[in-house]
Symmetry: C2
């Protein structure tokens, strides 16, 4: 570590491992506050729960039948078979949605529809198929049941005062169901990060223009905006800039005022016009803490932090495929950690062929998954890292640790779906 | 099959297998038109591509360098080593985004930055690290390269006139990247299905009310609306109805006018108030073709079709967890098939314990996935099918075919994530 005259850390040209970069990023953003907000239940899909939730009441709050049948005392059916029925008096017929009023005594029963309320005294339900009307007020029962049979107990779905959904849970349709059954119709969720997306490069033209010789269309803005949308961030601004330091300064200064995350792509190679790290170091304090990651693709990645505005700044590779992977491996990784989410489930697959690793670097290998008798075969997607179609042809990626020599044909790998 | 006096098929109380129900559903909806619409690229995330896309131009449309270095003729570097350099005249310095103007002849080279245009005549790039300035107009090169080295050829990412994205592709951020690089900024996607969601039951109160004895909160409307949102459908209307035939008739009649899909949940058990199949058969023509599926959970499922309005009608189980699974296994299955999507990737896991199957029925077994040395262990989530928390505690489900005796501890299963 070194410090320059202004008391800022001087950027040293050492390269971090992915693990080191993640640890530094985590520790830099440690004091960043994660805000929460309350939203309506029908808007909560895809959001991340920001508090543990304790149920204010049991679900169900009354004993329910899972079948159409007769609620009775299980003891009354002891020894009953198809040929030796028991005869019970029917004392009430419950309508769905209405309370059961009369207590079931020995020798009695009550008709209950599916979902209906089990009366006091009864402890089991015999399905209507195992009964027969005997006379106007009684039935014959041909089945022996044990206590609890065909009954959902009070709190069997959600116990009163139990922690039924944990902070960090992704709200899927099933969580919407659980929340609505517990009567929670405003939900505490993490406020999405605001993001400013800046793409730099003198070669960039907007996607609706035809590029001239040497020019290409801006892809990164679209890809990063889509990534942000996928993970629920709020894009505050996108800018495509010529590679001039003053323009970048202005954009980054604006970005840290409005955003939790300022993402600059392009301009982070070792080329002549590399302003990104310099600008981030000048504007943010403590500034850049990672410049270069031993990761393939993604070497020219820059990570910085500004304490006052609590803004994370990152310089991503100019290649869109690499930019997207680094965004996933670092920024989304951090967001998941800070919102207490679990890692996404991976898919296991067997390698179709040998793959060499990059010496001294962690490799993020794109693969497509193909059905096989045992499950899936992972077919490596080869092609230069600048090619966008390598990503659209892939199902996901698998990581090869830097110490590992490569992957062997038939070896089982874990694939993260993209 | 039978026909009643009005010339309608009479519903027979036979139960379909899941496979039969799917085939009937597919064939009933065979002539349903799938409409497409054009949307802006930055709105296309998560949508399904409705046409094969052919690239109007090659990407890149000029040869690009993947490194900062010198573009030259590979033949000039033959036999070159670290100790035996070749000296080349530097005839031009390309700026990023500008055309290369001068043709490289033998003995010459041109400086090209990463992403810059390779000049005519050159066929490879030597990284700047393997060169040294010799005098004002020439450099020493210390590396031997083969033709094509560090060069992205014209059309290497997307060939001109090639089919680069297939109909049915889910548009992920990487597809956004590919579309923007091909200059496509309006995208043909399937128009989402319109859906009407009807929940029936005298026991239902809305989620913001406290249910009385025998009453429960409406969960299905929330769960099904979230499922629709998850898969990009457009919810036209939700209705919670008391279990009266005339109310249901009115709602279904309205639904088939406005929607591709009318979903009724509740009222499809064998209970006394089962109007759903009757109403669907009266309103839709040809009407109900499946009433009951040999599926656990999901037995009381109803499927119907109305040819004139091209509407799919379904009666789902009243239990929200069962309703959600049946919606996934039938409606979403159909939607994927009709939009040419591939099946979602599954995760392989080893069963934690033995699980019995339901005789004569396909079982949809909920499991939670837990990390293990080999990958994942699938832990069966037990609990009555009416319990919503069985779904929120699960990572996904695995299917046990009806002929299969059950699952054995350690057996490998395929888990569809939910």
């Amino acid at each position: 570590m070194g410090w320059n005259r202004k008391g800022k850390r001087v950027r040293l040209l050492t390269v971090d491992s992915l693990q080191q970069a993640r640890e530094k990023l985590r520790s830099a953003a440690e004091r960043k506050k994660m805000e929460l907000e309350f939203i309506e239940l029908n808007q909560a899909l895809g959001r991340i729960l920001a508090s543990d939730l304790v149920s204010p009441e049991p679900v169900p709050h009354f004993r329910r039948s899972t079948v159409d049948g007769y609620a009775l005392r299980a003891a009354d059916t002891q020894g009953v078979t198809e040929s030796i029925p028991v005869f019970l008096e029917v004392i009430e017929k419950i309508e769905i949605g209405t309370p059961a009023l009369r207590m079931v005594q020995p020798g009695q029963c009550t008709y209950v529809p599916t979902g209906g309320m089990i009366p006091e005294g009864a402890d089991a339900v015999v399905m209507v198929e195992y009964s027969e009307a005997f006379d106007e007020t009684s039935i014959a029962v041909y089945d022996s049941v044990s206590p609890g049979r065909n009954v959902v107990a009070i709190g069997e779905d959600i116990r009163e005062q139990s922690l039924f959904l944990k902070k960090g849970s992704l709200i899927r349709p099933q969580e919407i169901g659980v929340l609505s059954s517990a009567g929670i119709h405003t939900v505490p969720v993490y406020k999405p990060w605001n993001i400013t997306i800046i793409s730099t490069g003198d070669e960039l033209v907007s996607a609706d223009r035809k590029p001239g010789p040497g020019q290409i269309r801006d892809i990164n803005t679209y890809v990063l905006e889509a990534m942000s949308r996928k993970y629920g961030f709020k894009t505050i601004e996108t800018q495509v800039l010529r590679d001039e330091k003053s323009l970048l300064e202005e954009a980054v200064k604006k970005g840290i005022k409005t955003s939790d995350l300022v993402v600059v792509s392009g301009g982070s190679s070792q080329g002549e016009k590399d302003h990104t790290a310099q600008v981030m170091d000048e504007i943010a304090s403590p500034g850049v803490f990672t410049h270069g990651i031993a990761l393939k693709p993604g070497k020219p990645t820059i990570l910085a932090y500004d304490e006052q505005s609590e803004t994370i700044l990152t310089g991503l590779p100019g290649h869109p495929a690499a930019a997207m992977l680094v965004f996933e491996l670092l920024i989304i990784w951090l967001y998941r950690a800070m919102t207490h989410q679990s890692e996404p489930k991976e898919t296991l697959a067997q390698m179709e062929s040998n793959v060499a690793s990059a010496p001294g670097r962690t490799t993020c290998l794109l693969v497509s998954l193909e059905e096989s008798a045992e499950g899936y075969t992972a077919k490596p997607i080869l092609g230069k890292s600048g090619l966008m179609t390598t990503l659209s042809r892939s199902s996901g990626y698998t990581m090869i640790e830097s110490g590992k020599e490569g992957l062997k044909q038939g070896e089982t790998v874990r694939v993260v779906l993209l």
